[in-house]
Structures are given as structure tokens and as C-alpha cells.
Point group: C2
Chain length 211, copies 2
DNA sequence: ACCTGAACACCGTTCAAGT
DNA sequence: ACCTGAACACCGTTCAAGT
């Protein structure tokens, strides 16, 4: 049997190791479909190899998903940096921009967002590399809040708790939108207005909360 | 073959229809394991019937999950009502209590929470019964916020947006805790303090936000 | 009307065997 | 060292057949 002979051409980067090919192929499949429908066998077939070959590079399917999520956070970090550059030095604008970037990234890459931001039952504690890139993104948010404190726009103290509150509301909005529990706006701009209006409650809350 | 003869005794409610037996059996299995590991075949076996029998009562597995989630919201509503009764008439206390109930229910029933609150990829729009019981729970939150507006503790107007902000932050905290992205407190009481402190940011934000 | 038995097209994971 | 072929133990879904 030559089950994959027709797909062999799909592996267009023979120089890259199979590991990278599987990750990138997985991301391409994830872009067009829910992560629940993504199978290791499909990913292997798209890479032009037998499914058993994947086990030379990943301990199991979850490790492949974790590697994909890790690559996702690398791209997300670029989103965040770009957003911060575009929004200028004003702290409130930087904060809103960071929050909206979280939501926008998820809406533009739903499958991606599911494996990165949660809900797939992936135990992140088992993947230090994934936790590291996620922590790097989280640190950006914490820094902006700290800037707000330095500028006197946000009450001092309890930085971790404030970061958590900001994260929670943005994460919550994101998941509810991804799930269709909150309907998206009639346009991306409308969704942005709606989301930033919700985020604003936490901005005001952080400004007023006594330390 | 008599593959289920040993388990037949597990269906201890022969008077109830198989539909109810499957739902309750599914909930019992869900209590001890992630929803991703829950199979229709297991549920059928626990009920003492062949897996094909389930298709007489549900169009597919998702419809069974939706029915389970619907039953979950019925129980959650009781949690909410009890919480409101315990917290007395003060609006701020009622609000905090409602938020903490959402989180506590999820921590006590993680599998339950996943199929109810989202992340399993279940398309709720296909299940009006599920949407109805969920809307009933959401209305409780909206009513408390409205009480706050009447009492002058929350800025008037934009009730829907304020409800959404409160929902988002509580939902976000819940999902992050369920996912292990935010570590739980050293005790349930510690988690409650941490969660209510985060929720407080939105309380303050809603009080100050101009309508 | 309701359930069984058997089949179909998939899964993730393992492992001896090839090169 | 890396991949294949084949097997194992599962899935969800369908359908003719039984009662």
C-alpha cells in the first residue's frame, strides 16, 4: 500500500525536520476547522508520513497540540507588540489595545485560540515551553498596568490581582464570543467598540479600587 | 453475545424512560472524569443498553450533552437562588454572592461546568431548551445589577453592557481556574476571597462608569 | 415502538519489522 | 535514527433485523 503517495507533495519543506512540518501542517489544518476535529492521523497524512511516524517526534497527541499552541503564542506576542506600538504612550489606550488584541486574535484564529487560551483540556503544567511563552505575553499586560500605576491612573498595589482581573474579563469576553454565547457585533469595528466598552469597567475599577 | 448482562443492574430506575436514565447516567459518569473522555457508548453501557439504543432518544451525542447541560442549569439555578437567599438584601453582597456561586459551582462540578459554560464546541443555538434555562440564570444576574441601579449604587443605563461585563469577568475567572491557568487558593475560602477581590473591580467600575 | 447485532469509517497508541 | 505496516482497543453513526 502507498496510502499517502498522492499527498507526499504536500510536504513542501523537505529540509525542515518532520517535527516542524507536523506543527505547521497542524496549524494549517487547525485554521480550517475546530480543534476537536483535528486528528493526529490527518496531520501526519498532510505531512506525507504514516501516523506512527509522529510518535518519533512527540510523545503523544497532546505534546503536538502543546507545540502548536507554543507557536501560536509566538505569533500572538507579535500581535501584542504591534498593538502596543500602534497605540502610542497613553496608558489607557495601551491597555484597551492589549485587551482588544486578545479578543481579535481569537476571533481571527478560533482554532488557534482554543488550544492556546484553553478549553481543550490540555494540561499546560506538563509543557514548560508553552508556559514560558504564555507568561511572556501575560507580562506585557502586567507591565502596562504597572505603567498606569506609575502614571497615577491606576490605584497602587495589588498588581497581581489587578492583572488577574484584567485578564479574566478579556479572557471571559473572548471565550463567550468564541462559543457564540455573546453574539459578535455587526462588524469587526462594532465588536471592538462593544469589547472595549466592557473592558472599560475594569479600567475604571482599577483606577478607583483602594490598594 | 450478552455484552451488558453484568451491568444491567446499573439501570436501577426501570420506571423512568431510557432518555432520563441516559441523562442521569451521563451526569454520574461526568462527575468522575473530563467531558472529553465521556463516550456515548459508556453512557449506554452504564444504562444497561446497547449504544445504538441511545439514538432512539437523541439525534446524536451532542443532543445528549445538551440535555445533560440543561439539567445542569436547572441545578445551577437552585445554587443561585440559595446564594441570593443567604446573602440578604444588600445589593453588593448579592452581586458578589452570585459571582462566587458561578465559580464555586464550576469548581465543585468541573465536568458539568464544561458542558454548561462552554468550551466543548457545543452549538447552543441548536438547543432552545438549553438556551432557555441558561437565559433564566443570566436574568438573575441582570436583576441584581438593576437593583443596584435602583438603589443608586450602580450608574444608570447600559444594563445589558454592565451585565455582560460582570458575566465576562466571572466567566473568565471560572475558565482560567478550571483550566489550571490560575492556581486555586489554598482553601475554598481563600479562593473565594481571591475571586471576590477580582469581581470587586467590576463592582467599582460599574458604580463609577457614566451612563 | 424500541432495542440488538453487525457493520462502517474513523480515532490514539504501540511495536515488530524494514532501511 | 527514522519510518512503515499491522495490530489493538476504542470511538460515533447507521441500519437491517428482531420482539
Amino acid at each position: 500500500m502507498k496510502p499517502y503517495s498522492a499527498e507526499t507533495k504536500a510536504a513542501e519543506t523537505p529540509s525542515a525536520s518532520l517535527r516542524e512540518t507536523l506543527i505547521e501542517g497542524g496549524l494549517r489544518l487547525l485554521a480550517k476547522g475546530a480543534p476537536g476535529d483535528l486528528s493526529l492521523r490527518q496531520v501526519a497524512a498532510a505531512a506525507g508520513v504514516t501516523h506512527a511516524a509522529a510518535y518519533r517526534h512527540f510523545e503523544d497527541k497532546n505534546e503536538l497540540l502543546a507545540a502548536m499552541a507554543q507557536e501560536g503564542f509566538r505569533r500572538f506576542y507579535d500581535y501584542q507588540m504591534e498593538a502596543l506600538e500602534r497605540s502610542g504612550p497613553a496608558v489607557a489606550a495601551r491597555f484597551r489595545s492589549l485587551g482588544w488584541t486578545y479578543v481579535r486574535f481569537a476571533l481571527e484564529n478560533p482554532g488557534f485560540a482554543r488550544i492556546m487560551f484553553g478549553g481543550t483540556g490540555l494540561d499546560r503544567r506538563r509543557y514548560p515551553g508553552l508556559m514560558a511563552v504564555q507568561a511572556r505575553s501575560a507580562r506585557l499586560l502586567q507591565q502596562v498596568i504597572q505603567e498606569g500605576q506609575t502614571a497615577g491612573l491606576i490605584a497602587p498595589g495589588k498588581l497581581k490581582q489587578k492583572t488577574r482581573a484584567a485578564w479574566a474579563i478579556v479572557h471571559g469576553m473572548t471565550m463567550l464570543l468564541l462559543d457564540g454565547q455573546i453574539p459578535p457585533g455587526s462588524s469587526l469595528a462594532a465588536t471592538e467598540r462593544s469589547v472595549t466598552a466592557v473592558i472599560e469597567h475594569v479600567v475604571v475599577g482599577m483606577a478607583a479600587t483602594a490598594s
